[in-house]
């Protein structure tokens, strides 16, 4: 399993942060997922080895955290918040719009592998609702039209 140099330097730095190696697990999993796309058996095994844990211990942690996934996702993971503050300002309708536009449901992935869709819990954008995250980027004060623009930008950026 080959990770980027940035991953390796960050991982090495993290090991100096804590008195136990295991403490680096959660952030390491997310950084690994960012590079590999998802936490495959191979990635899990690699991280378990590095932190002197069993694969099962790592899986046990993965299943707790909502951002971690053991299944492949689209290049752009569209996460629409429908929690209370977003719901009051159209978050649910925005999610429906994305479902229709992308032709997929909650946790679905488009056939071309470009988009995944997820209904997520509060992302901390309540005062700028409704909001969504595409991967890590925040998009706020959204409407169906603004959302379309965001999705179009993703399509343009994607290699053909």
């Amino acid at each position: 399993m080959k990770f980027s140099d940035q991953f390796e330097s960050r991982f090495a730095e993290m090991l100096t942060h804590y008195p136990t190696k295991r403490s680096a697990l959660v952030p390491t999993l997310l950084y690994a997922q960012d590079e590999a796309g998802y936490l495959s058996d191979e990635v899990i095994h690699e991280i378990a080895e590095r932190l002197s844990l069993s694969d099962l211990e790592v899986r046990n942690v993965i299943s707790y955290y909502s951002m971690l996934t053991t299944k492949p996702r689209g290049k752009y993971n569209v996460q629409v918040c429908t929690n209370i503050a977003c719901m009051l300002r159209g978050g649910e309708e925005l999610l429906d719009h994305c479902k229709e536009k992308l032709g997929i449901g909650h946790k679905g992935t488009t056939a071309d592998g470009l988009f995944s869709l997820e209904e997520v819990e509060c992302i901390g954008a309540c005062s700028w609702a409704p909001a969504a995250q595409v991967n890590y980027a925040f998009h706020e004060n959204l409407s169906a039209e603004k959302m379309d623009k965001v999705l179009d930008e993703c399509r343009k950026k994607a290699p053909h």
Partner: protein, 440 residues
């Protein structure tokens, strides 16, 4: 990047440097940065604790415990290292304030962690930032690296002979990790399952060492208190509720946003003046005053001072500062359902009353909202919630039960209106039709 709004009633303490480029270390220094920690280095630890105690600063994460008092619980002598842990796992629905602090003033959090460290005799601090806030984690990583590069962190800080390290840590998506003991589990690389208390973290915390856990806004307030003094800070608020607070206004408002207002600011004024009132000339139906876990208030209850004690007396909680405003078009059953869906999703499953209770309540509310509710379920929901209260390791069970009890108690008629297959009386007005007006 979240936009900033302003209102003349604001008293800017924590938000003083917002929009002023203070992520840059030189700019932060120009704006009185790292002066407070240097002052604290010349103080006795007990004097720092007493100063913060007397400032009446109370935990901004939601519980509202006196910060100085919390620090005073850390034993002076400890065979194990002591730690400072900054809680930046902001996830309470309705809350989006720590985000602005990390985005605009990351060094103030680092400085707050350092001062907390000096106060309790710790040499190591961690700043935990939720996984969704990746751009903020990057801002914090740079801020910490910059502080190390200047010698503000590490060995012999500011030539004082005192060593202090600060490390960043990222989460990966979990509301419950915002609870102090689950936060420590997560930092230790485990599932965020809460720990039983006692022992409290101040005695047995991270890796068994005494640990102070404070919210990011709490810690960012500390440097200002050191420089301005306890009397000045406590005088900004109401008795026993010192200072200011970042209130996150959201929902049906003309000017939702994050505003820094003195503790004890009137809620009605906050909604109608600061928040610009309710769009489309609609009437206020209810207010959730401090994040989704706080019991809802009725329009008749909002002539209220927004401090911990006054909101507590009114039967709710000041919580995390997330004020969610609901107008007359909102279906309370649907709102209660969405709230419960959240808690059911976030319950870690460790304690049975929370795991089963949230699931049961969610299913009952789904049935209610779809018109299949049974009359006896109204009382059952209340009874079930009542029996979750205080019966779990961490407050997530309470956080789910408290708002549900308030919804049932205060909006009983609305639940009754959903009985016997009646269609939801609010379905006609969709939020999208409202959007044009709401997005002003």
């Amino acid at each position: 990047m979240a936009s900033l709004l302003s209102h003349p009633d604001e008293v800017k303490v924590v938000s003083k440097r917002f929009g002023m480029g203070a992520t840059n270390l030189d700019r932060y220094l120009e704006l009185d940065g790292y002066k407070a920690v240097q002052k604290a280095l010349g103080m006795q630890p007990d004097d720092i604790v007493n100063l913060v105690k007397n400032s009446a600063l109370r935990g901004r994460g939601g519980a509202g415990f006196n910060t100085g008092l919390k620090w005073s619980f850390v034993p002076k002598q400890s065979p194990k290292p002591k730690y400072i842990l900054c809680n930046g796992d902001e996830s309470e629905p309705g809350t989006c304030k720590d985000r602005l602090i990390f985005e605009h003033d990351p060094h103030s959090v680092i400085e707050g962690v350092m001062i907390a460290g000096l106060a309790v005799g710790s040499h190591t601090g961690y700043i935990y930032i939720r996984g969704e806030y990746r751009y903020l984690l990057e801002i914090m990583q740079k801020a910490i690296a910059d502080a190390y590069a200047r010698g503000f962190l590490g060995k012999n800080i500011f030539g004082s002979g005192y060593d202090f390290d600060v490390y960043w840590h990222g989460g990966a998506g979990a509301y419950e990790v915002g609870e102090e003991s689950a936060l420590m589990e997560s930092l230790e690389g485990k599932r965020g399952i809460p720990r039983i208390r006692p022992p409290f973290p101040a005695v047995v915390g991270l890796w068994g060492g005494p640990t102070v856990i404070n919210n990011a806004e709490t810690l960012a307030s500390v440097p200002h208190i050191i420089l301005g003094g306890a009397e000045w800070y406590s005088g900004l608020g109401t008795p026993k509720n010192g200072g200011t607070r970042l209130f996150c206004l959201s929902g049906h408002l003309n000017k939702p946003g994050v505003y820094e207002l003195p503790m004890g600011y009137n809620l009605k004024k906050m909604i109608y003046d600061v928040g610009g009132g309710i769009p489309n000339g609609r009437k206020l139906k209810a207010v959730v005053p401090g994040g989704s876990s706080t019991p809802v208030l009725l329009p008749g209850e909002i002539d209220l001072a927004m401090d911990f004690d006054s909101v507590g007396k009114a039967g709710s909680m000041l919580g995390s500062g997330g004020v969610v405003v609901l107008d007359g078009t909102t279906c309370i059953v649907k709102f209660a359902l969405r709230t419960m869906k959240f808690y059911q999703h976030e319950s870690c499953g460790w304690c049975i009353p929370c795991r089963e209770g949230t699931d049961w309540l969610k299913k009952t509310l789904i049935r209610f909202h779809s018109g299949g509710g049974l009359k006896e379920d109204i009382d059952n929901m209340y009874y079930l919630s009542e029996n979750m209260l205080g019966r779990t390791f961490c407050p997530l069970g309470d956080a789910a039960a408290m708002p549900t009890m308030a919804f049932v108690k205060k909006f009983r008629k609305e639940f009754e209106d959903h009985l016997e297959g009646k269609p939801c009386p609010f379905e006609k007005v969709g939020a999208v039709e409202e959007m044009a007006a709401l997005s002003q």
